[in-house]
């Protein structure tokens, strides 16, 4: 079982501006290896790697840090530097790994809704709305103006959040080290609470099965919803948890199982 603390517990030197900026640029490719299992996990690791390599000079510690930074990760791509700053400040202080993990999970969740509201529901409709009409009237300034507005906001937000949350994290951790054990527990509670919420919030799996019953066919999903809405996401998560924890299944084995369920299910009209 992987260790829960780093070998070298001496806090690393503060990351310099150049490294922080490099990570902001890298954060643009957060979704480079997006996938259904861990979503932005490997892109997240790619984004913070320059910082991790500076912080963890011990190779075993770097491996440990890379490993836990490959956990499931999903947040709003334009606000990710907020999570990066906090996590990097904790890595720099060599915080307990479970604490870093819990804080990362707790921070990534709520940003999705905020980012969608700012970028997709406000900025793009306004900017693209105005610029589209310019384009339709034949002005090449339309697309150019759109790109300028959108990217000015995007990069302003990215750079600001990175330096702000890195400073914030550094300050907060010094305050919390006096009660590190209690903080780890509280952070884990929050993390588990958020994963519970994600199970329902991100879990969209439903069944399309209906049972013939003359005039009123029985819709299986609505029966399930009557018992417990989001029952299938919950049951699948618990099943996979059980398979991995008790039966030692690897994630790949779980994915193969889900592919089989998906395809067989589609063939028999389950989905």
């Amino acid at each position: 079982m992987a260790s829960n603390t780093y070998k070298n517990l001496t806090p690393a030197a503060k990351l310099d501006k150049k490294t922080l900026n490099k990570m902001v640029w890298r954060s643009c490719n957060l979704q480079g290896s997006f996938n259904y299992e861990r979503m932005q996990a490997a892109g997240w690791l790619y984004s913070i790697l320059p910082g991790l390599e500076k912080i963890h000079t011990d190779k075993d510690d770097l491996a440990l840090s890379m490993k836990h930074n490959l956990d499931f990760f999903n947040t709003h791509p334009f606000l990710v530097t907020f999570v990066m700053g906090i996590v990097l400040s904790m890595e720099q202080q060599k915080s307990d790994i479970n604490t870093i993990r819990a804080v990362r999970v707790a921070a990534m969740g709520p940003l999705g809704g905020i980012g969608d509201a700012i970028f997709w529901f406000t900025l793009v409709p306004i900017a693209a709305g105005i610029c589209s009409n310019m384009a339709i009237q034949g002005s090449f300034a339309g697309p150019i103006l759109f790109l300028l507005i959108f990217n000015a906001v995007q990069f302003g937000v990215r750079f600001f959040l990175m330096s702000w949350s890195y400073e914030l994290g550094t300050k907060a951790i010094t305050l919390l080290t006096a009660n590190a054990k209690e903080f780890t527990r509280a952070a884990s509670m929050l993390g588990v609470f958020i994963v519970g919420a994600l199970t329902s919030n991100y879990g969209g799996t439903t069944v399309a099965l209906t049972i013939e019953n003359g005039e009123a066919p029985i819709v299986v999903q609505s029966i399930l919803d009557g018992v417990l809405p989001k029952m299938i996401p919950l049951a699948l998560t618990l099943l996979l948890f059980f398979l991995m924890k008790k039966k030692g299944w690897t994630p790949v084995k779980c994915i193969v199982l889900l592919l089989a369920i998906g395809i067989v299910g589609a063939l028999i009209g389950l989905f």
Binding site: N29, A42, L238, C254, A266
Partner: protein
């Protein structure tokens, strides 16, 4: 209207970039307002490109990739609508209609890639164990390049083969409907593997109640349509309150514990 080799190569290169851009890079080059103008520039009819791009943009504003949902792909849609409008002089509506099969194929491509990249995460785990930073970087760039190539090839087929090619391509997928619906059902379930992995590490036995509480609160809020955007923020507020309360109680208990010990020694 046929296109020169240079035009085809330029479209290929441009689509390669914007396909990656839809998830990475500037995440704005892919918007139809931009792609329409650039495709117009490459194919020699900027005016039509601008009009198609602007119109398609207005259509897609209500159709953003929010919360991980995949609409028929607006990137290919925008590019192919501009191509058809310029190549065949169709009005915008008709050109957008012809582009729909390509937008569907784009969506399939994304589903396939996101599914195929899931087992690759175990390869990433092995790289992490060896502290192989270069490997992680390479993994990301390769995935991005595959996405770019898939889209570039589809758009090039559309550019050379015309609208008929789009129908031929979708016919292939239509012949095996269970494959795409099975893959997208499996894709929707794969995140549970990610959650289960997190739980395996984070969930100590005394936190089961907290897990179900989070699930319950999210499910309740999920039934309130007006809160779909702010759900996770609201949930975080409640979660923070619970965690903070626990933190404060335990800190108080710790200092109180020290205090009462001192009291005993004083003989009170």
């Amino acid at each position: 209207m046929s296109f020169s080799a240079i035009q085809i190569i330029l479209v290929f290169a441009f689509v390669f970039i914007v396909a990656i851009d839809q998830f990475d890079l500037l995440e704005s080059l892919y918007q139809p307002i931009v792609t329409g103008a650039v495709i117009g520039l490459i194919l020699g009819d900027v005016q039509t490109g601008l009009v198609v791009g602007g119109t398609y943009q207005l259509m897609t504003i209500g159709n953003m990739p929010v919360g991980g949902a995949q609409p028929p792909n607006a990137v290919i849609g925008g590019v192919m609508a501009a191509v058809f409008a310029i190549a065949s002089g169709l009005d915008v509506e008709a050109a957008v209609g012809l582009a729909v099969p390509f937008a569907l194929i784009g969506q399939y491509m994304v589903t396939l890639l996101f599914t195929a990249m899931s087992p690759m995460m175990s390869a990433a785990d092995k790289m992490a164990d060896k502290a192989d930073a270069k490997g992680i970087v390479r993994l990301n760039y390769i995935a991005m390049a595959i996405l770019g190539l898939l889209f570039a090839v589809v758009c090039t087929i559309g550019l050379v083969g015309g609208a008929a090619a789009g129908n031929a391509l979708t016919a292939f997928f239509d012949a095996v409907p269970w494959l795409m619906s099975g893959l997208s059902a499996a894709g929707g379930m794969m995140r549970f593997v990610g959650f289960a992995t997190l739980l395996r590490i984070m969930l100590s036995n005394d936190l089961w109640g907290i897990y179900f509480a989070g699930f319950a609160l999210a499910t309740i809020i999920g039934y309130i349509p007006g809160l779909s955007g702010s759900a996770l923020l609201l949930i975080a507020f409640v979660g923070i309150a619970i965690a903070l309360y626990d933190f404060q109680t335990r800190c108080a208990m710790k200092s109180a514990g020290v205090g009462s010990n001192g009291g005993d020694e004083d003989g009170i």
